[in-house]
Amino acid sequence: MVKPKKSTSTSASNGVSDPNLENKRTKVTVTNSSVENARGTYYSGAYTSIGFDNSFSLEKFKENFKINILSEKPYELVFEMMGVDAPIANAIRRILISEVPTMAIEKVYIINNTSILQDEVLAHRLGLIPIKVDPRKFNFHLPNKEYTAEDTLIFKLKVKCERDANGKIINDTVLSKHLEWVPHDDQIAMFPNEEDHPRPVEDDIPIMRLRPGQVIDVQLYCEKNIGREHIKWSPVCTASYRLLPVISVDESIQGESAEKLVNTCPKKVFDIEDSGSVVAARIQSLNQKLNFERIRDHFIFSIESTGALTSRELFQEAIKILIEKCNIVEESINKLVN
């Protein structure tokens, strides 16, 4: 086996230097009209001509892989991930959105509803309220099985809108803070601290409006599931990534044209939007000498949590789930072969 080479070495001893191919390998090019080389080539022998071993080796991966946290709030994490290719980064992103489980209201038993909001609309609105409770403490509820303390959380919502002695209307807006946890005896031991008690993430989410005399009385059953089943179980507001942009200027831009470029720069040429995409309002005559590129294996990842778990926990869970998915497939194949 040839010893793996550093990704930066183009003038390899057993290959011909080809800056063009090297550029295709490491970068995505943004032109005026299109994005070029967006799709990477992953065939193990794709870059043998430039002396680069494109096959996977764990040592090489460990050497190149880096993570750098850019900003962190409990529920908003932005970090850089370098040395990993899009299929893996994308798998993590997809798992974050649709396969990390949370608890959400699934069954709504309506005892009384004299408001003008239809039962089914109310049930749908209730389902979308993010519940602050650690889903790892619960099991998945199996269909056609009795609810148990280990797979179900019960809330009740009982609000009556009235006029008080002064004629002031009270409870005219039903808010998420009106949800009241109805703990099972076993569940009190699961959540010994008052602040860990299951509740909506936010207290001030409006559920519906009432007029005096109208009543709402419902029982809410939360179950554990994943975002692929229904988006209400998705643990993230969004999880996304973008590639690191690189803007390079040809050395031949000197003197007058350099000045022209610098003067134009702050507002027109190098205008980078919030999304990170470069607004390519370029100077026509310098078009060939400016390169707008993105580094293929440098991801800027952003995870915004809805509040059940912190962004950091979500990322850790997502990776564990990816490993678990592989284990399940492996088990199934071993069963078939033997």
Binding site: S55, R94, P101, K145, I226, C326, V329, L336
Partner: protein
């Protein structure tokens, strides 16, 4: 309305993957050891593209590709052809291991970075 007490833990699944009721996660269609189509149930681009990627990067594999034939079917097909030194099944197991290794290292690195 109350919850049943004394839950029987073996009745439900405590893993972070929802319980599946399919008999086989994977089916194999193959008439030669070096080529095979694997039919995955309840899998999508998440595993399909990751497996395609690590398999293509395996020097012993000639070809790998995946498709999701119909959006309403929860099925994903993965086709593998090896260069002949190993069987398609072995290459798939190798690929799964590679994904696990990558994931484990990402998790380790993340935890170490997070601690600092």
């Amino acid at each position: 309305m109350t919850l049943a007490s004394a839950p029987n833990a073996t009745d439900s699944c405590n893993s972070f993957i929802p319980p599946s009721f399919d008999v086989n996660k994977v089916e194999i269609i193959s008439d030669r050891p070096d080529c095979a189509t694997f039919i995955f149930t309840d899998e999508d681009h998440t595993l399909g593209n990751s497996l395609h990627y690590v398999l293509m990067k395996n020097p012993k594999v000639d070809f790998s590709g995946y498709s999701i034939p119909h959006p309403s079917d929860n099925r994903m097909n993965l086709r593998i052809q090896t260069k002949g030194h190993i069987s398609a099944q072995e290459s798939l197991l190798q690929g799964l291991n590679d994904i696990k290794d990558i994931s484990a290292h990402i998790l380790d690195t993340f935890n170490n970075t997070a601690d600092n």
